[in-house]
Amino acid sequence: MNIVLSLVRNEFEKTWRSRWIVFAVLFGLFLLIAAGLYTYYVYREHRWTPPAPVAWQSQLRDEIAGNQHTIAGLEQIKQQTQGQGGTVRVGGRNGPGVSIDQAIAQTQQAIADDQYLIEHNIAPVQSFAIAQASLFALGGIVMFLLTRIFGWLASEQIAGERSDRTITILLSRPPSRNQVLFSKAIASFLISLVVVLLSLVIVYAMFSFWLGSPGSVTDQAAVTIDGAKPLGPGNLLQMPIYLFVVMCFGAAMLGVLCVQGMSLLISVVTGRWAAIGITLALLFGAPLVSTVVAGIVFLISGSQDSSHFLNYLFFNILAPVGSVAPAFGNSTAAAGSGINEFPSEVETLAVWTFGFFLAAWLLFRRKQEAG
């Protein structure tokens, strides 16, 4: 055990001393974004201090009013187009090809959902700053970029040693190959854990300011079970908000682990630049290909549900957190969302992760270093 701890310490030192600039740039980016948002806030609100907090009921009433306004607009368009004898399909969040009637029905459903929540005094998950921060930091663009950085760093772990020729010392010394691989995996995971945690804290601070209050972390929050169905007693799960955050954090870290497993596998069999290239090509290219495939599937089938299977591919590591994103209020119902998707997506991610690490382990323990 001591030897593993020593190796983990070595990895921390190497990562920090060789890649501190990456972490500095990340921190600088956060600072820049925060400063930009704050400037925008000051410009728009004409104030330096946070706004007064708004109760979640008021937020939902605003949403209802906004949705009613949208319906009125849609009805007007519908009447005009009926007069011309044609049908108009609207885009937006529901994707291309949604008819006006469908859009009106979905918006009416959103209004009904909000009214249900107000009537039953159930706070939706997005009314908490910590929940919004979790969804943004753990399931959005921040996590998308962080996982690419973690993938890059993990891809160098063995491949970098091979390119630097330090692998000969590493593997000829007493630590076993299992210990070497295990300590590298542990170290990269712990580093990513700290970075993700810090990102969450920073984003939480930003949302707390934006919403005028850090909000509660112990209240009960509601999440839809099936995002494609109307809200109701059978389609609503209430849980403490901290549990929701832990759930998102766990799923996000599993995604990170999956990426690190894949990168480590590539790292075991290649040199530094090949490992970085293949890892980044997969992590950036696969979602691109996935989007194209989803588009083709939609064009052929005419239904977005048909490309749902793509959520279960390894590179869609943000899928579990994405599926528990609020599926009511402004976000109209959509297939593939809701907490009932979460367990199976996490399960799939876990299987991919296990598979990657197992393959990396099997290859590394027999890998011959011919120089």
């Binding site: 060789s18 020729r165 000829s172 007493p174």
Partner: protein
């Protein structure tokens, strides 16, 4: 004495290329064993198998009685090693690199690190980043790394690569000191025959993946015969004349306007007489006893001064 390293009928192939063909040798405790052979002979492959980086296809390789691949963790506690072109973390200092590798052996002994840096003459540059080191400095740091944890066996692959003459001389003294004062067993490969000749108790000569000879230097070098280098005015004519002398084998020398002659008996006078009688000017005739270089050439078939072998220091051209 007992064997620290035992290699038995070890074979290794890379695809169709047979790098090692059932080689066998051992390294006895406390001895300095030289591992000789031209490029591609299989020296580094053998060392990589001993270090647990490669797995032999057949035969066994053990260190301290432990198999180098299947029981690598135990075997690795016996030795410290450097490989050709040693690798380090360039962004760390020499001292920090040693700390990194020391942690793999247990708690870091700062005193030992300081002593090792001093031993290899790196005290002043120990806190500089390795990326600023010359090849020679990296070699010295590699030796310090190999000595971490006070190993019983030192495995060195071409340790003199990149060292200047002073560095080579210093390394020779250091290795001899380690062997005699600390009883360290040293197994090292080198192209420098002079190093092997001066340092080693025994040598193993490898060529094309096979052991061509092994044993004490005194036995190997017990080759009867004489070697001459003759500087002449006309090489072609001189070769013709000397080849006619009974018992002489002549070939063009590696130095301009010279020929090399090998003979079982001392025939210097007869050669000189024949050359002078044929009207060929003889500027110099040097007689030397056969040495390791000759044995090496005989065993490997690779002339030491061949452009295909590693360069070795050549005798200066005598003034004419």
């Amino acid at each position: 004495m007992s064997a620290v390293v035992e290699v038995e009928r070890l074979s290794k192939s890379f695809g169709r290329v047979r790098a090692l063909n059932q080689i066998s040798f051992d390294v006895q405790e406390g001895e300095v064993l030289g591992f000789l052979g031209p490029n591609g002979a299989g020296k580094t492959t053998t060392i990589r198998i001993l270090l647990g980086l490669l797995h032999g296809d057949g035969g066994t390789a053990t260190i301290g009685g432990h198999d180098c691949w299947s029981d690598h963790v135990r075997a690795s506690r016996f030795f410290g090693a450097t490989l050709e072109q040693p690798g380090f973390y360039g962004f760390l200092s020499g001292r920090d690199n040693l700390r990194q590798f020391a942690r793999m052996l247990g708690p870091v002994d700062e005193k030992q690190i300081t002593e090792l840096l001093d031993l290899v003459g790196m005290t002043e540059r120990g806190d500089d980043k390795v990326k600023r080191y010359s090849m020679g400095m990296r070699q010295r740091l590699a030796l310090a790394q190999a000595l971490l944890g006070k190993p019983r066996l030192l495995v060195l692959d071409e340790p003199t690569n990149g060292l200047d003459p002073n560095g080579i001389h210093g390394l020779r003294i250091l290795l001899r000191k380690l062997a005699t004062e600390q009883g360290l067993t040293i197994f090292f490969s080198s192209h420098l025959l002079s190093e092997v000749e001066e340092l080693c108790d025994r040598v193993v000569v490898l060529n094309r993946g096979e052991v061509k000879a092994s044993g004490p230097l005194s036995d190997l070098m017990n080759v009867k015969g004489f070697r001459y280098r003759i500087d002449v005015s006309d090489v072609d004519k001189a070769l013709e004349v000397v080849r006619a002398v009974d018992g002489a084998k002549a070939e063009p020398g590696t130095i301009k306007d010279s020929i090399n002659v090998i003979a079982d008996n001392d025939i210097a006078r007869r050669i000189n007489y024949a050359l002078v009688a044929a009207g060929i000017g003889v500027d110099q005739l040097i007689r030397t006893e056969q040495g390791l270089e000759d044995v090496y050439i005989q065993l490997t078939g690779v002339p030491v001064a061949s452009p295909l072998s590693s360069p070795v220091p050549q005798a200066p051209v005598p003034p004419r």
